[in-house]
């Protein structure tokens, strides 16, 4: 069973990564990745909501009538998202103000409903928790990588700390949404061609062995 959890983790983070394999949650990728700190908080919020949401939905899946399955999924997921929103508003007001409506919009992030439908509806609770967390992490890792590039080129800083010298002219485009499109596309391209090449190599090795 342990190796199974390992596989679920690897799936969410790499082989079935929500951003560059499932291509979900792109809207928030465009919105929050111009600053590393906000991205990390957003990723933590998504990981929390998709992990616990999947756990809860999996635990009550035998009680949920088929007709209202999606309504209940949205209810449970928004429960966790609103919890995140309440905590941010009370304890991190500056972050809450900067993220604005995007925290509430985690509910509409397709990754949450996607995992609830694709995994939690048919798997035991702990495996669903691991799957939700793994997908949150997969999302967070890609977003953070994009945010590091965008914040560095766009502001010359990381975590709000200036790194580039005074000679550095910030690339304005990096702060605006289009740059996230470029970077997500590059990440997709890189990951896809890497997995395609690895796949081809594995096939070639198999062919040699079977001969």
């Amino acid at each position: 069973m342990k190796s199974n959890y390992g596989k679920i983790l690897k799936d969410g983070i790499w082989s079935n990564n929500p951003i560059f394999v499932q291509v979900l949650g792109i809207c928030s990728t465009l919105a929050v990745t111009n600053n590393v700190k906000n991205t990390l908080i957003m990723a933590a919020g998504v990981t929390f909501a998709t992990g616990l949401g999947s756990l809860t939905l999996s635990a009550i899946k035998d009680l949920i009538p088929r007709k209202v399955r999606m309504i209940i999924q949205v209810l449970v997921l928004s429960f966790y998202v609103i919890l995140v929103d309440i905590v941010l508003r009370a304890y991190l007001p500056a972050v809450s103000k900067q993220l604005g409506p995007y925290v509430g919009l985690i509910i509409t992030n397709c990754i949450l409903m996607g995992r609830a439908e694709a995994f939690a509806a048919a798997n035991p609770p702990i495996a669903s928790l691991v799957d939700g967390v793994a997908n949150g992490l997969g999302y967070g890792i890609v977003l953070t990588a994009i945010a590091v590039i965008r914040e560095f080129l766009g502001f010359g800083s990381i975590f709000g700390m200036r790194i580039a010298g005074a000679w550095f002219t910030p690339w304005t485009i990096m702060i605006m949404a289009p740059s996230a499109f470029f970077l997500v596309a590059l990440a997709l391209w890189g990951a896809k061609s890497y997995t395609a090449r690895a796949e081809a190599r594995r096939k070639a090795a198999g062919a040699v062995r079977s001969r």
Partner: protein, 199 residues
């Protein structure tokens, strides 16, 4: 009861809603004082900064606000700092993406600005959003108000106009539109202050 019967579906949905909404309502209620305090601090500290009153922490800000600032019936504020009287008011105007709300403080005769503080803005981060940066806001501090108010210099150095007598401040480079909007809001506030606002 069968899982697909209408009675079960209705009962389950109601029960699930009640079960999940109740803790949220409790959490919201429990954090309300904190959220209110955060909001109050954000509003009061902005007024203090516009008046140029320094504070160390939220408690200090609340104390100084209570001691020094008087809230006026028209929504403006007055304060006496170092023996001089100042007036301030809130002014909202159009921005590039959403409205911009400023607090504009000036001396009693509306001859010199005391300070300008940004209460709310949704400008582009890194471009128009830079109106929140200290160098931009500090340009307004003590600036003489000319007959036509304050003008924004689009051909300035982009790093701040230190001359306090020329009624002019530098625009934010790459954000000419946002700078124009701020200019318009500041001048509208000055017009209000001249015509007896915040008294």
């Amino acid at each position: 009861m069968k899982k697909d019967s209408i009675a079960y579906v209705v009962c389950f949905t109601f029960a699930a809603c009640a079960l999940f909404v109740l803790p949220l309502a409790l959490a919201n209620e429990a954090t309300r004082p904190r959220v209110d305090a955060n909001r109050r601090f954000a509003a009061e500290s902005a007024v203090l900064r516009a008046f140029g009153i320094a504070y160390e922490n939220p408690e200090d800000a609340a104390r100084r606000y209570a001691a020094l600032v008087r809230e006026l019936p028209d929504g403006g504020w007055s304060a006496t700092v170092d023996g001089a009287a100042y007036r301030a008011l809130r002014k909202t105007g159009a921005g590039l993406w959403g409205s911009i709300t400023l607090i504009v403080a000036a001396d009693d005769g509306a001859e010199r600005l005391r300070g300008v503080e940004i209460l709310e803005q949704q400008e582009t981060p890194g471009l128009g959003g830079r109106i929140e940066e200290a160098w931009f806001k500090d340009q307004f501090r003590g600036e003489r108000i000319g007959p036509a108010g304050i003008s924004i210099n689009q051909e300035g150095s982009g790093s701040g106009d230190a001359d306090r007598e020329n009624s002019r401040v530098d625009a934010v480079t790459g954000a000419s539109r946002t700078s124009d909007f701020v200019e318009a809001i500041v001048n509208a506030a000055i017009a209000d202050l001249r015509s007896g606002g915040a008294r």
